[in-house]
C-alpha cells in the first residue's frame, strides 16, 4: 500500500496566500475599469489562473504531495485547453 505522509501547512503561509488571493481579486476589479480591448479577457483569465494555481499549490497541498499528482493536474489542464483550441480552430477557418 502507498505510504501517506500527513503535511501541515503553517498558519502564516496560509495567511500569506490568503492575502495574495485578496490582492489579486482587487487587481481583477481594478483592471476591469480600463479599456484594454482584446487584452481584457487575457488579463482577467491570467489573474484568475494565478489565483487558481495558488489554491492548488497551497490550499489543496499540491506543492507538498507526490509529483504524480501535479502531473495529473497538468494533463487535465492540457486536455481541457486542447478541447477549447480544437473547437475554436474550426470556427476560425469557417467561411
Amino acid at each position: 500500500m502507498v505510504e501517506q505522509k500527513p503535511h501541515i501547512v503553517e498558519y502564516l503561509t496560509n495567511i500569506y496566500v490568503w492575502i495574495a488571493l485578496a490582492t489579486l481579486t482587487i487587481i481583477t476589479i481594478w483592471v476591469s475599469e480600463f479599456d484594454l480591448k482584446l487584452l481584457t479577457v487575457t488579463v482577467a483569465l491570467g489573474v484568475a489562473s494565478i489565483k487558481a494555481t495558488l489554491v492548488l499549490m497551497y490550499f489543496m497541498h499540491l506543492r507538498f504531495d507526490s509529483k504524480i499528482l501535479t502531473i495529473m493536474v497538468l494533463v487535465t489542464m492540457i486536455v481541457f485547453l486542447s478541447l477549447i483550441v480544437f473547437t475554436f480552430f474550426d470556427y476560425s477557418y469557417r467561411s
Partner: protein
C-alpha cells in the same frame, strides 16, 4: 501464493434481511453484482427494441410499427444500450467485481461512494425508461440528441437528457473511485508495471470518465435550458449554432467510445495469456497503448462532423488524428496474436469469446478507418455502413468482451461452473448470428441505404431480410447463453478456487471470495503473467 482459508463468502447476509443486506452493501463484489443484474435487465430491453426495429425493416413499408414509433424505438435502443449497458458495462460490473481482487486490496477506495454510483445509475435508468410511459412519448432524436431538432421536438427529450445527465454522475464517481483505488490501494510489491492489464485498462478508462463526462453533462443541460427558457445556444433561429452542439456532444461521446472499448481490451489481455499459458507479449506496450488510446481519443471527435459544415482545415486535422488512434489499437491486437503464437491454446468459452472479440473488433476497427477518411466518409456518412461499423465495435467488441469476462470470472464470482459444452455451442450460435445480422449493414451502407429510415427502396430488401434473420439467430444465441449462465448459477458444479490456473491475485483467493477478499494482504514479487 495461495490465500484460500475457508471463511464465509461475500454472499453471507450476516443476519440482516437479504434486501437490506444487498441494498445497503458497500462490498465492491455485491455492488458489482447489483450492476450486473440491473445491466442485464436493461440490455434485454435494448435487445427487444432492436429486434422490433429489425422486424420492421424486413420489407419496405409498414410491417410492425408506425414511422413515429420507429423513431422512438431507435432512440431508446441507442440511449438504453449506450448509457445503460455499454458505457457502464465492464467497469461497473467487472471493474467492481475484480479490481480490488486484482490489486490485492480489501475494497475500493470509497465504498459508500461506490454504492451511491449504483443508486444514481438506477435513478437515471428509471428516468430514461419512464420517457416511454409519461408525457408526450419517447424522444425521437436518436441517442445523439442533435440540435436544433432536440430543442424543437415535442417528445420527452428533456427527461431523457436529464437521465443521461444523472447517469453521467454515476460514471464520474466510478471513475474517481477506481483512479484513487489504483493509486492508493495496490498491495505491497505491486508496482505500476506489476499491475494486471485489466487494471491498466480501467485506469485509462477512469481518466476519460472523469475528464470527458462533465462536458456532455453541461451540454445536455444546455439543451434543457434552451427548451425551457428559450435561450439561443444551438438553435440558429434564436442565434445559436447547431455545429457547436455537435462539437460539445462529441467532445464527450467520442472518448466515451473508448470508455466502452478500453475495459474490453483489458479483459482480453487477461484471458489471452491465461488460456495460451504464455507470458503476455509486450506488457508495457499494451499498458502504454491503453493510455495512448485514452489520450489521443480526446482529440478525434471531429470525425463525426465531417459533413456537418466544419471548416476544411479542421476536417483534415481530425482525420489525421483519427488515423493516429488506430496505432495503439493495432499494437494491442498484434501483441495478443504474438502472445498466442507457440502457446498452448485452450479453447474454453472465455478464450472463444476473446478470439471472437479480436475478429469482430478487427472488422469494426478497419471499417472505422473507412469512415475516418474524408473522401469515403462523404459517401458513407449517415448510411447503414456506420450502423454496421458501430455495432461491430460496440457489440462485437465491448459486448463480446463483456461475455468473455462473464465466462472468465464466473467461477470466481459464483463459486460454480457453467456447462462448458453448452457455453461453447451458445458462443458459436451468437457469433454466427452476429455476423449474419451486422455484415449486411456494411453492404447496405455502401449501396447507399441511409440509417434511421423507417422505409427503404426495394433494391435494399435482400440484405435487410438477411440482417433480420441474423437478428433472430443472435437472439437465439443470447437466450442459449443466458440459460447456460442461469443454470450454472443455480445448479453448476462447485468450482475450484483457480479453475483456469490464472496467476493474477484474483485467482489466489477463495471462489467466491470472502467479504474482505484476502485473509492476509498478499505481497507481489513478479509480473502478473509469468507462465512457465
Amino acid at each position: 501464493m495461495t490465500n484460500t482459508q475457508k471463511h464465509t463468502d461475500f454472499y453471507d447476509n450476516e443476519g440482516k434481511p437479504a434486501w437490506k443486506a444487498w441494498l445497503t452493501t458497500t462490498d465492491h463484489k455485491r455492488i458489482g453484482l447489483l450492476y450486473f443484474y440491473s445491466l442485464t435487465v436493461f440490455f434485454l430491453v435494448g435487445v427487444l427494441l432492436g429486434l422490433m426495429m429489425r422486424f420492421e425493416l424486413i420489407s419496405p413499408g409498414k410491417d410492425l410499427v408506425e414511422a413515429q414509433t420507429y423513431n422512438g424505438l431507435f432512440t431508446l435502443h441507442g440511449v438504453i444500450m449506450i448509457f445503460l449497458f455499454v458505457i457502464p458495462g465492464i467497469p461497473a460490473v467487472f471493474g467492481n467485481l475484480t479490481l480490488p481482487l486484482l490489486l490485492g486490496a480489501r475494497d475500493v477506495a470509497f465504498p459508500k461512494l461506490n454504492l451511491l454510483s449504483w443508486y444514481l445509475y438506477i435513478g437515471g435508468a428509471i428516468l430514461a425508461l419512464s420517457t416511454l410511459l409519461v408525457g408526450d412519448g419517447p424522444p425521437d432524436t436518436g441517442w445523439t440528441f442533435y440540435a436544433p431538432y432536440s430543442v424543437k421536438t415535442g417528445t420527452n427529450v428533456s427527461m431523457a437528457v436529464l437521465s443521461a445527465f444523472i447517469l453521467g454522475f454515476s460514471s464520474i464517481l466510478t471513475g474517481l473511485n477506481f483512479l484513487t483505488t489504483i493509486h492508493r490501494m495496490r498491495c505491497p510489491g505491486m508496482t505500476w508495471f506489476r499491475m494486471p492489464l485489466f487494471a491498466w485498462a480501467l485506469y485509462a478508462t477512469s481518466w476519460i470518465q472523469l475528464l470527458a463526462t462533465p462536458v456532455v453533462g453541461i451540454t445536455l443541460l444546455m439543451i434543457v435550458v434552451e427548451r425551457w427558457l428559450g435561450i439561443g445556444l444551438f438553435d440558429p433561429v434564436l442565434g445559436g449554432d447547431p455545429v457547436l452542439y455537435q462539437h460539445l456532444f462529441w467532445i464527450y461521446s467520442h472518448p466515451a467510445v473508448y470508455i466502452m472499448i478500453l475495459p474490453g481490451m483489458g479483459v482480453i489481455s487477461e484471458i489471452i495469456p491465461t488460456f495460451s499459458r504464455r507470458r503476455i507479449f509486450g506488457y508495457k506496450a499494451i499498458a502504454y497503448a491503453s493510455l495512448a488510446i485514452a489520450f489521443i481519443g480526446y482529440f478525434v471527435w471531429g470525425h463525426h462532423m465531417f459533413t456537418a459544415g466544419m471548416s476544411g482545415p479542421a476536417r483534415i486535422i481530425f482525420s489525421v488524428l483519427t488515423f493516429l488512434v488506430a496505432i495503439p489499437s493495432a499494437i494491442k491486437v498484434f501483441n495478443w496474436l504474438a502472445t498466442m503464437y507457440n502457446g498452448s491454446i485452450d479453447l474454453k468459452p472465455p478464450m472463444l469469446y476473446a478470439l471472437g472479440f479480436i475478429f469482430l473488433f478487427l472488422i469494426g476497427g478497419l471499417s472505422g478507418l473507412v469512415v475516418g477518411a474524408l473522401a469515403t466518409d462523404v459517401h458513407l456518412h449517415d448510411t447503414y455502413f456506420v450502423v454496421g461499423h458501430f455495432h461491430y465495435v460496440m457489440f462485437g467488441g465491448t459486448g463480446f468482451a463483456f461475455f468473455a469476462a462473464l465466462h472468465y470470472w464466473f467461477p470466481k464470482i459464483f463459486g460454480r461452473m457453467y456447462n462448458i459444452k453448452h457455453a461453447t455451442r451458445a458462443f458459436w450460435l451468437l457469433f454466427t448470428g452476429f455476423n449474419v445480422l451486422y455484415f449486411p449493414m456494411l453492404v447496405l451502407g455502401i449501396m447507399g441505404m441511409p440509417r434511421r429510415y423507417y422505409d427503404y427502396l426495394p433494391q435494399f430488401q435482400i440484405p435487410n431480410v438477411i440482417s433480420t434473420v441474423g437478428s433472430w439467430i443472435t437472439v437465439a444465441g443470447l437466450i442459449y447463453m443466458i440459460v447456460v449462465i442461469v443454470k450454472g448459477i443455480r445448479n453448476g458444479e462447485k468450482a475450484a478456487a483457480n479453475p483456469w490456473n490464472g496467476l493474477t491475485l484474483d485467482w489466489q483467493t477463495d471462489s467466491p471470495p470472502t467479504k474482505e477478499n484476502f485473509d492476509v494482504i498478499p505481497t507481489v514479487t513478479e509480473r502478473p503473467y509469468e507462465y512457465k
